[in-house]
């Protein structure tokens, strides 16, 4: 037992455990963005959708005391935001980049999420209920795997299920095959009788729901409270993550925990007094700097073949103009 406690207390295990905690919102948001991008819709509004999900989920738990309702509300709120983007880019054929940026400004830290937080009066109060670890203590204190994998809340376990479901959906179902066709070549998909518009709407909105749940990971588990701009750039890291994962759900989990580790390091190191001479801002900048570094590595390697990117990503589909 003493030995186990020793290992579980070591810096590496603590960092890995924090990687899972901080990686989970990234994982949800990245899975959602992946679904949207696989249908050919680039949604840069992830940060805004996460924030609206976070504030609405938090409001729901304060109102109802039910975590399940809170998660549903967060997902619906994120989906509603994504619906705006879908309407603009699919039906109205607006520029996907500008529309996504508009969504982030509309919903983001200085927009709707802040407005809702103020109007619903949810700032600066602790959550009535939060997602906590629930497995038996003996499991959670198991060597290494305990703190990293088992000492987690339901959102973390559910995120693993989501990865598997999304991977199976994309690669093993008819709908997933159709989705990939829509993202690669909407004209060919249309000729096959697939409703391109419906697929794009459905997956953009589903992506928003995932982003909303990702935001709720912050307000109901990690921070558990509501402050403006709570996600501090996680939505953007999630968009970068989809690129690192070559648009594959199983690789998203690796990327999410990689970036989760860099998000968790400042807190762990500060708590332990490790490298206390180094300014904390240096550690806080790590997730952002690492995103740039890894993105450069991936893009210079993938530049020649655009590894895994859906062929029609970012382009509207207009049947008459093919």
């Amino acid at each position: 037992m003493i030995l186990a406690a020793g290992i579980n207390d070591s810096v590496i295990v603590v960092v890995l455990a924090s990687a899972v905690v901080y990686g989970t919102p990234l994982l949800y948001a990245a899975l959602g963005e992946l679904l949207a991008e696989r249908s050919g819709v680039l949604n840069l509004g992830v940060e805004g959708m996460m924030l609206v999900g976070a504030v609405m989920g938090f409001w729901a738990v304060q109102r109802t005391g039910s975590l399940l309702i809170a998660i549903v509300v967060a997902a619906v709120a994120g989906a509603a935001m994504a619906l705006i983007h879908a309407f603009l880019v699919v039906t109205l054929r607006a520029n996907q980049i500008v529309s996504g940026l508009a969504l982030t400004i509309f919903a983001g830290a200085a927009g709707l999420s802040s407005y809702l937080g103020n109007t619903l009066n949810v700032a600066d109060e602790p959550a009535r209920r939060t997602f906590d670890s629930f497995l038996p203590h003996s499991w959670r204190s198991a060597k290494v795997v305990g703190p990293i994998l088992l000492d987690n809340n339901a959102l973390v376990f559910a995120s693993w299920g989501c990865v598997i479901l999304v991977a199976l959906y994309l690669n093993r179902t008819r709908l997933g095959l159709n989705l990939r066709a829509v993202g690669e070549s909407p004209a060919a998909a249309d000729a096959m009788g697939i409703n391109v518009t419906a697929y794009r709407y459905a997956h953009t909105v589903a992506g928003g729901a995932f982003a909303g749940v990702g935001g709720a990971c912050f307000s109901l588990a990690i921070t558990p409270q509501w402050v403006d701009g709570l996600t501090s750039g996680a939505g953007w890291i999630a968009i970068a993550l989809v690129i690192f994962a070559f648009w594959r759900p199983t690789l998203c989990i690796v990327g999410a925990y990689f970036f989760g580790a860099f998000s968790g390091i400042p807190f762990t190191f500060q708590a332990r007094g490790i490298l206390s001479g180094v300014p904390p801002e240096l550690f806080q900048a790590l997730p952002y700097v690492m995103t740039v570094v890894v993105l450069v590595l991936v893009s210079s390697a993938g530049a020649r073949r655009r590894l895994g990117a859906p062929g029609a990503l970012g382009t509207p589909y207009v049947r008459e103009e093919r």
């Binding site: 705006i84 300014p279 801002e281 210079s300």
Partner: protein
């Protein structure tokens, strides 16, 4: 059945009707949002406009709020015109403010004729250097500039925090005992205060006038030079540009540097026009860079339109700050900006396409 067809000719009246329609629809949706959250819309809009544009004091405040937006708007417009999505205006403004502040402190209290141009040059250099990071990555590694420039915004904010809160840096005031307990930036010498133009009771910040001059220069550059022509071709059709032998890589670097330099001057203007110290909280909480994207998109990347829209959105922002409180929640201005932008994007459709209600198709479908 509703059909959407591409327009063959774009009627002139549309270019007037669509922007007006955009604003009307945006305010209509805003009214619904306000009603749904139990705020009286008429009263809210009335206060918004009186505080933003009603009277000389309101207009002076609006010029102050519009100045940084003018720079970040031009920063985004210059880059977006080439389909180069530099959304790092925020961070480039921070770095411009840092380098501009260093120039202000270093030059001491000699002459405004030295300090002001030096601050502008320093701010431009700082912003350009910071923008060149995503520029170089995009040009040589084809790394998505949207994400890299955005990530650097967070890094820029952390750099300012470090300089003032967590170090004994050149920028930090360590002279008085209170400054040691409550970290703050050094106050600049008087020579580093930018002049203020008086015009009929209105106070125009030097930075705002400089921004208008820059807007004019950009217009000349983009419509009257070979460089500008090539930028537009690359923006509209990268393939045509490469067939024509245009050097895309060089243009990416040049446009990124130009874009960052403009945001950097915006940062120096924050130092010299308004704050007279390196002020981390004030700079990083305002979101100038993101508002600049809204302005550039609404102005359809036209520099003169950016001036006008920066002034109008500056009024909204000015009113938003002044009115913030229990009955006027923060975030309202951001929501309104977003709505206007959504409506403008939707309105583009009406310019490019026409909508027909086709009965015959409905009967057969």
């Amino acid at each position: 059945m509703i059909r959407i067809e591409r327009r063959l000719v774009q009627p002139r009246w549309l270019s007037v009707a669509v922007p007006i329609g955009t604003v009307v629809v945006a305010f209509g949706v805003m009214t619904i949002v306000l009603l749904a959250t139990h705020h009286p819309p008429g009263h809210t809009f009335d206060r918004l406009f009186t505080t933003g544009f009603g009277g000389k004091d309101a207009l002076n405040g609006t010029f102050v709020a519009a100045t940084p937006l003018l720079f970040t708007g031009l920063c985004a417009a210059v880059a977006f015109r080439m389909q180069l999505f530099n959304i790092g205006g925020e961070g480039q403004l921070y770095v411009g403010a840092i380098v501009g502040a260093a120039a202000a402190i270093a030059l001491g209290n000699h002459s405004g004729w030295v300090s002001v141009p030096a601050m502008i040059a320093a701010g431009a250099a700082g912003g350009a250097a910071f923008a060149l990071i995503p520029g170089i990555l995009r040009a040589f590694f084809s790394t998505n500039e949207i994400i890299t420039s955005l990530m650097l915004n967070y890094v820029g904010a952390l750099v300012i925090d470090y300089l003032i809160f967590d170090s004994q840096s050149y920028w930090r005031d360590t002279s008085s005992p209170t400054a040691k307990v409550f970290p703050q930036g050094k106050n600049f010498p008087d020579a580093a205060s930018w002049p203020l133009a008086h015009a009929g009771g209105l106070l125009l910040p030097f930075g705002f006038l400089a921004g208008i001059v820059i807007a004019f220069l950009i217009w000349v550059l983009y419509t009257r030079t070979r460089f500008g022509f090539e930028v537009q071709v690359i923006g509209d059709s990268p393939r045509a540009a490469s067939y024509a032998g245009m050097r895309t890589r060089r243009k990416i670097l040049a446009v990124m540097a130009l874009s960052g330099a403009i945001a950097g001057i915006g940062g120096a203007s924050q130092d010299g026009d308004f704050r007279h110290t390196l002020d981390p909280r004030g700079l990083t909480s305002a979101g100038y860079g993101y508002a600049g994207i809204v302005i550039a998109a609404l102005g359809r990347y036209n520099p003169f339109a950016v001036v006008v829209i920066a002034f109008l959105l500056g009024g909204l922002q000015n009113a938003g700050f002044a009115l913030q409180g229990a009955d006027f929640p923060s975030g309202l201005v951001g929501v309104l900006q977003g709505l206007i932008l959504f409506c403008a994007l939707g309105g583009e459709l009406l310019v490019r396409y026409r909508i027909r209600f086709d009965r015959q198709v409905a009967a057969t479908a």
